[in-house]
């Protein structure tokens, strides 16, 4: 009976893991195929597609665009989101509910609606087809993740620590630097990671705002899939999977080292 239960237990875990991972992992072997179209199972073994991707100027440009935009958007969103979360946590002010709803609304608004709206507004401001436009759009999208994550951290902090710091002669800035920020750091870091990922794999807004010079990696993949579905796309996907896995692993290691 006990054995049966254990078998069932592991079976469920295995099936769930497969359901979650298979669609992602199936792309990896396909990137090694020697055929000129995507095929499963792959035929033969070659690294040709990886070489093609890494050597191609348009992929390089897209990778640089993605990294620059994601870093900038994550940085901006982390700074703004952290300040907003601390204000929402520590103070009562008129219109607080409205501010909260506005800050979090990008999380629930359909992205396509945001994208159309931003396209209209940004074209008036001359921000279409610029990296700055993408950065600002992705920042708006990423702020709610930072706010939610920092708020959760701030609620865990003993509320008398900040007054204690002031009472012991610290200025507000000193208190923030030496007490508040270290205490909410886990929330800030995980908010920053989420913000980065939000921008890194964002397609819809980038479709509206980017042109051939400013397009990001997801847009390149999207174009590839629509035009010629060759194994180079799978190679890009495999690279992204490995990079993401390393990122997640790194953030776990950081958290482990801190505690």
């Amino acid at each position: 009976m006990d054995k049966l239960r254990r078998v069932f237990f592991w079976l469920m875990i295995g099936l769930t893991a497969m359901f979650l991972l298979l669609p992602t992992l199936i792309i990896v072997p396909m990137s090694f195929t020697t055929t000129s179209t995507l095929e499963f199972p792959p035929v033969g073994f070659t690294l040709e597609w990886y070489g093609k991707v890494i050597g191609a100027p348009d992929w390089q440009q897209a990778l640089i665009n993605s990294l620059v935009v994601a870093f900038a958007a994550a940085t901006l969103a982390t700074v703004i989101g952290t300040m907003a979360a601390l204000a929402l946590h520590a103070h009562r002010f008129p219109g607080k509910m409205l501010v909260t709803v506005l800050l979090l609304s990008p999380m629930v608004t359909p992205v396509i609606v945001l994208a159309v709206g931003m396209y209209m507004v940004f074209s008036g401001w001359g921000l279409i087809a610029t990296r700055l436009g993408l950065v600002l759009a992705h920042t708006v999208l990423a702020i709610p993740f930072v706010v939610v994550s920092v708020l959760a951290s701030a609620r865990m902090v003993n509320p008398s620590l900040a007054p204690a710091s002031l009472g012991l002669g610290a200025s507000r800035w000193f208190t923030f630097r030496r007490v508040t920020l270290p205490m909410i750091m886990p929330g800030v870091l995980s908010g920053a990671v989420f913000a980065f990922i939000t921008s890194w794999d964002e397609v819809v807004i980038a479709l509206f705002l980017a042109d051939a010079q400013t397009r990001t990696v997801p847009i390149m993949i999207w174009n590839q899939v629509r035009t010629n579905l060759d194994p180079a796309t799978a190679a890009v996907a495999a690279i992204l999977i490995v990079l993401s896995a390393m990122g997640v692993l790194l953030s776990y290691k950081i958290r482990e080292a801190r505690s």
Partner: protein
């Protein structure tokens, strides 16, 4: 008024008519008192009495609606907390969990721009005074409640603040530790010569630790004095009841040429007219007499003295070193009596009539 009180050089802090209103609620209502240098003052009162509001006003966390706060002769009413040079020990200690004990204690020195070497030296000295020098490298989480409290105390003292504030210092400790830490905190603050204001609702704690006690009620300062003064000369029923145990007897006043008599159904208290306590009674026709349970003696019923009473024993409780009697008076009111005169009480039982007597000196008069 004695010389020490008038000596302004010895005044560490002064509250002048401080009030704090939250809407229609008067959390503090025209509170004035002085704190002398090196003094340990406890603000005592039930919750909502204004003691904590006073502490927060002194610390600078709330702004008084009216009144002034002077520290060392300077008006500090509008000065923010970080510029007041006051050390505060929070109820939950508020130790910084991401800093070691040494860093926690050194924090107020760090905020004052003192360099690391000097900071660590001063912090270690203070840790030695509180007996925790060996724990300097530990984190607050790794220490017991009593140790955490001593770290918090060291942090509040290390920068030699003008005043040290203790907010319910024993609240987070279990009962066994409290008595021990009360004595310890008292010793440590005296040793470094700190001027201390503490807040508590525990009268025993106030009596053990303080040079003077300020009793708060409904946002007002009810009475301030040494524990001894408050016990012997309470100015109100509230104070009499809050400091120690008190029996309250309400009676009418009869005045003669050289004495004043306060009497009720089955008891009387007699004072000579030149007694200072009578000042409050001149012209009055009602008064309240406070008698402490340990100052009432059992005497034979019908004893002829000027300060006697009688009633019926309702409960007799043997407590080892003493007896405790609950006596019902003729008017139905109850008074408590404690006696170590085991021999004369052993034979009495509930339902018996008992005679009681007290010395004129033990009578406390409160104007009714």
């Amino acid at each position: 008024m004695n010389a020490a009180l008038q000596d302004t050089a010895g005044t560490a802090m002064k509250l002048e008519g401080v009030s704090k209103h939250f809407g229609a609620v008067k959390a503090l209502d025209n509170v004035s008192f002085e704190l002398r240098k090196g003094e340990f003052l406890t603000m005592l009162g039930p919750s909502g009495s204004g003691k904590t509001t006073s502490l927060r006003a002194i610390a600078g966390f709330i702004q008084p609606t009216a009144g002034r706060l002077l520290i060392d002769g300077r008006d500090m009413t509008a000065v923010p907390p970080q510029k007041r040079n006051i050390g505060m020990m929070f109820q939950d200690y508020a130790l910084f969990p991401h800093m070691t004990v040494l860093e926690n204690v050194g924090y107020p020195l760090e905020t004052r721009g003192i360099r690391r070497a000097e900071r660590e030296k001063l912090s270690m000295e203070m840790l030695e005074i509180v007996g925790l020098a060996s724990c300097a490298k530990r984190y607050p989480k790794q220490m017991s409640g009593g140790q955490q409290q001593r770290v918090a105390l060291a942090r509040a003292l290390v920068f030699r603040p003008d005043i040290v504030l203790l907010d319910e210092p024993m609240a987070a400790l279990d009962k066994k530790l409290r008595g021990q830490m009360q004595i310890e905190i008292m010793h440590i603050t005296r040793q470094v010569g700190a001027t201390v204001v503490s807040v508590t609702h525990d009268q025993e704690e106030a009596l053990v630790m303080s040079d003077r006690v300020a009793i708060f009620k409904d946002g007002r300062l009810e009475q301030i004095g040494t524990p001894h003064q408050l016990y012997l000369q309470p100015r109100s029923e509230f104070v009499a009841d809050f400091i120690g145990e008190a029996n309250l007897l309400r009676g009418s006043v009869r005045q003669a040429d050289d004495w004043i008599l306060v009497e009720g159904d089955g008891w009387k208290a007699n004072l000579s007219k030149d007694d200072p306590r009578c000042a409050a009674l001149v012209g009055a026709n009602k008064a309240c007499v406070v008698l402490r349970p340990e100052r009432i003696h059992a005497v034979p019923v019908g004893s002829e003295t000027q300060n006697v009473g009688e009633g019926v024993i309702e409960d007799k409780i043997y407590l080892g070193v003493e007896y405790r009697l609950v006596v019902r008076m003729n008017d139905g009111g109850k008074i408590n009596l404690r006696s170590r005169d085991v021999a004369s009480i052993a034979g009495m039982k509930a339902g018996d009539r008992i005679g009681m007597a007290w010395a004129p000196d033990d009578i406390v008069i409160i104007g009714a």
